[in-house]
Subunit: 397 residues, 4 copies
């Protein structure tokens, strides 16, 4: 174990400290635990410490999730000499503070998405990351879905030119968990904590994924945000939620849904939709890309499949191919099971750990970087401004 970043990669261990232990914390824990069991890693991750504000609950979580020790503040975690990497799994309003402090302390950082709740914070984080990188400290933002094998295969096909010139990008992230107007308020519906609603929580993913797969960037947007249900019942524990005083209901301060048109810099026309009100769709990340030579289609509700149309085939036998992305030849898959034995949601987190550990060991900057996260944040901000002003907005780069 070492406190100088360069020395880290010389050792066998990578000592991890994680902040937050809810949904993302559980997923990250399983990834740190599983990665070395299936992949050959140059460093061995150690689940050293877990941080959370409530001593009792963090202890219970550490026991359950398998972390060796606990801290009751992220500051204490960052201050520990025996930690090489800080894994930030808290709501977006705390990302900037924690990540910047960690980077300044010479810790590598894995930060959940969205990178931050504002462009300003994301800019500060990116500056900190670039400064730290000069000292060999690495940072990555957790756009985990990039590591779903079918998505990685889609990117390969585009990069190899199998789709030709891209004309259309069609992306939807459809959920329905708050379609019931009596579903309670949560921090995810509170602008102060979450930054935005469907836009930042799930829209961020399809912005990142489509830019990743196409290798292109969104240049302009025209969007519309919408809140369908403006007040919701308070949950039993509601300390810290804004707008809750004096009643059994609280205000929803974020968007329930966000839609936008997008022009990619390379010429493709994009249509995006993120919503928590698509009744019957649970986690449907649906991406279709149409190019001059071919097309791909993906739906996370069938995450082990990629549909690929090769427009150069004989027309009599051309058709979308249902590729079961479980072959050893597919990205990440060789480490898992035989063909046809599916993997699930959390495997993307394991792949993220694998790539991150490899990059740290190799002394190279991981991808997606904080700069990538910042660029996504700029797209989200442009959508929000567009919606507020009824105008098209340019994304500055």
């Amino acid at each position: 174990m070492s406190t100088t970043p360069d020395a880290v990669t010389d050792g066998r261990d990578l000592s991890v400290g994680m902040v937050g232990y809810a949904f993302m914390g559980a997923a990250h824990s399983q990834a740190w635990r599983s990665a070395p069991r299936f992949f050959d890693l140059p460093m061995r991750p150690r689940m050293t410490a877990l941080a959370g504000r409530d001593a009792g609950r963090v202890a219970q979580a550490a026991e359950k999730l398998g972390w060796a020790s606990t801290e009751t503040s992220w500051q204490a975690l960052v201050a520990r000499d025996d930690i090489d990497l800080i894994d930030v799994c808290t709501p977006g309003d705390t990302h900037a503070e924690i990540a910047i402090a960690a980077l300044e302390a010479g810790k590598h950082v894995l930060c959940e998405k969205p990178l931050a709740n504002s462009v300003e914070e994301a800019e500060a984080m990116t500056a900190a990351a670039e400064k730290a990188a000069a000292n060999g400290v690495r940072s990555m933002v957790g756009f985990t879905y990039r590591r779903v094998p079918a998505i990685a295969l889609a990117r390969q096909l585009v990069a190899e030119g199998r789709l030709g010139t891209l004309h259309h990008v069609r992306a939807q992230y459809l959920q329905d968990w708050i379609v019931d107007p009596e579903a309670p308020l949560s921090w995810r519906l509170d602008k102060a904590k979450a930054g935005s609603g469907a836009l930042g929580d799930i829209g961020a993913h399809i912005v990142d994924l489509t830019q990743f797969i196409t290798g292109d960037a969104i240049g302009r947007v025209s969007g519309r945000l919408r809140t369908f249900v403006h007040e919701r019942p308070l949950p039993s524990e509601h300390a810290g939620l804004a707008g809750t005083a004096g009643s059994g209901r609280g205000e929803v301060t974020v968007d329930d849904a966000a839609v936008f048109l997008a022009e990619f810099r390379g010429g493709a026309l994009g249509v995006f939709e993120a919503t928590r009100f698509a009744n019957g769709r649970k986690n449907a990340i649906r991406i279709e890309i149409n190019g001059s030579k071919g097309s791909i289609a993906f739906d996370f509700e069938d995450m082990n499949l990629l549909h690929f149309f090769d427009g150069t085939e004989d027309v009599a036998t051309a058709g979308f191919r249902r590729i079961v992305v479980t072959e050893a030849q597919h990205p990440y898959v060789g480490a898992w099971w035989p063909p046809g034995h599916l993997i699930g949601y959390e495997h993307g987190f394991t792949h993220q750990v694998v790539d991150l550990v490899n990059d740290i060991a190799a002394g190279q900057n991981p991808s997606p970087s904080f700069a990538d996260g910042l660029q996504v944040q700029r797209v989200l901000a442009a959508v929000e401004t567009s919606s507020d002003t009824d105008t098209w907005q340019e994304i500055t780069s």
Copy 2:
């Protein structure tokens, strides 16, 4: 047979004259021929006369398609005493002139979509239709897809409240027939003849269908039109196409694709996309509607299916139901085959004839009316203006 419209409904025959005999002409002919063989109609359609400019070709088409006589001008057809109804199957630039003349001559009119190439023409046609209706002369615009049983069932479900309050409308009309940049110019790529490209040709259908299914109307739009391929080889016969002088290539003067956001008056948020560049998609009319109680999903590439999610079911057994819309209880289906025996594209045209003949016999105005066609035209015009000006556009009603 009769020359006074009111008398028409007293007789047994409905004498039809059709203008145009290409793709739409073939579909309409099969509909006039088949409707009385499967449905009990109050009047018997007679395929009396077919009009086209080239005497030889119209004679050949009449022989092939089963029309009893021919005319070489639509004016001659409209002038005939033995014609009760004019069926307009020509490109959009001629609709207004023919339909208005026919209505003024006391003929019922079935006019292919889009109703016209401009709002102004559509307004004139609507005025003529309303004036004629006062005299018992009926008119209908051919948004045939409304008569696909799965679509009619979707409308029923919405009307019955099975979807609750509507939140999302997601509609795509995806084709790929000109994704090859060497596909030749045709009248459909010529603004003078076609009015617009993907927007008017196929976008019109999804505007009509979503308004039909929801029982709602689009109030505002923000859109983007795009032409991916600006010049194409001229076909062997290219007389009459603009921009063709002095070269083997001609200019594409319409949009290859159109995308737009829409706000429905009732509060639903719409996302629309019409394109002829979706490689691998042949005639994919895809419509999804999400409401507070349920959702529907439809794809014309599986036109006999409707997917319906009932959000009021027990969560453990809820799921999108794949309804095979081939039961006697489904709209239009009882006249055809036993359950599971699919119908095809042209059956919608037969259903259109059935409804039209029934309405004429009953002395009532058919739906969709010319006014409905005009409203669609206004949405299309608003999308075009929005694209030209980078603004949201209101649809005046």
Copy 3:
């Protein structure tokens, strides 16, 4: 019109007389009517006469279905000089008598499947057909599903060697129309009229289709027939049904379901299932064939699709291709609509007419022949014997 068969092909007309006017009669009528409107035929079918026992009902049917005249016995129809072809659409117990008489009278014959209710009858019909063929009289058995474009494409792929050596044939014909034990008796549940139940009615189709697609023949079978519901309520009109005396219920004398293993002569292993008790499946003809180089899969509930796996492709991008069989390059499709515009159940009947008329005009024997129908009958008989005796049965050829 002519009474000598050879002369028939010299004329322009093919005068058709049809026996029976229920479900199959309606389908055949639409085919005779539509074929010349979409395809270029060497002879023009004339819907000359319709025969049925009840004068009033046959007259009504002829008016509805568009037949020019009627007869109240098939004998009278066969005796008419102005009929060139007899189209047999009656239950199976009458096929042999009508078809043999027609052939002996020099009429071409199109006979619905199954060819007969017993091997003996089918043998007599085949002998009559072969004798007639020597005089230029043609005969065909109506295994219509062969003419679904996706099925015809499947056969092409096998014939071209795209599947390699065939290992597996998996075929199911699943319906559910009598799963309700209170569904009434009908002639289809009466062994005297129908010969057998699911086995002959729908099992016959998958026997024919798999032999057609593979170009191979079934050599041995082990089967099991099962009747789940042994008594059913009598329908309001029940004259002529066996076992109905003195009660409101009658005996089901045929199988509700039939399953069998099959060894194809070429080495493939087959698994077959025909049932009217597959709750939720309406007309699911599902065929999968796996070969050393590739596979195909088909489901009639998506009849415009063929799924094709090309096992010679690179493993990273191999997958079942969803071929939308609506391209001009596909069998029969060029005569219909543009890509993606689906066709339906009855189009197979139209294609059957097209092929039959072409063969008659060309003076060649159509396919499937009565001999093909006999061979299917032998397979069905072997399945029945196998079920009765708990043994494997050879199919003699």
Copy 4:
């Protein structure tokens, strides 16, 4: 830690020793590791020791898979006092010897399927298990797929009567990993080691699954086994494979495919197919069950989905429901991720560990028991005898 079985359940730990570390060993390791991280278990599994013949390789595997110590014989493992449970992950020819010895030593046993390579061995194992159970020693056979949530839900629906009386069971287990005749020999193709081929390896699963879901048992079978490729190239390491002497190729001594008809005791008619030659199908466990009130359909290539048809619904809106089995209300799912976040193949193994640990702690016999495994073995043996003798075979119970 304790050496008397009863005392085990009083402690907090359950000390596991595993024999074998190939494919199944990796899956079981992940299950032992993950179960306590997601589920609340009454005992804490300890991955105490791993046994394998090659000291170097077993040490490497233990390091990779996370086992605390190693043994080079299963006998040594069974002899250890600090082991409470033996997890048998070796080929089928060794199951009986290891499991019986372990049971006799008072160790709980989890034994991979098929329980044994012969009915005789399975009978001996079952006798040993029953004797041990009297002393509080538990045993379970690893038919893991029972613990896929969609399968568990299917069983629930049948048990609740949602399908009514069962008519049809249709089950296929389709793989294609040896369709290439040049795929090398492996122990799975060697009768001495594997007992049988597709029949025992994958056919065993669908026998167990259909009996599990239906709550019924197969009473009679008529089957056919087939070997398509009789000789294959030897792998580089081929010591111990039979029939390999003196050449570069060895004999395949097991079936490549097995098909059989089955009569369930409760009256349902079954059709089964297990093959490693279904080109393009990777791990397609496909099960359909049709009953008088409803149906279910499942395909492991979409393992998070269950399709359910409720035949009691209004016919106009009835249809197979695509249930995404990722809700907290679904079996096992509550411990994992939010709705729509899929799980994968190995999660079934985790659920198996969860159920096993709960049963051990509660002092009750787990399911499926060795007796269940024996019954499956009897079905497999009956299929084999049936194929050898061309007869139907009864399954004695």
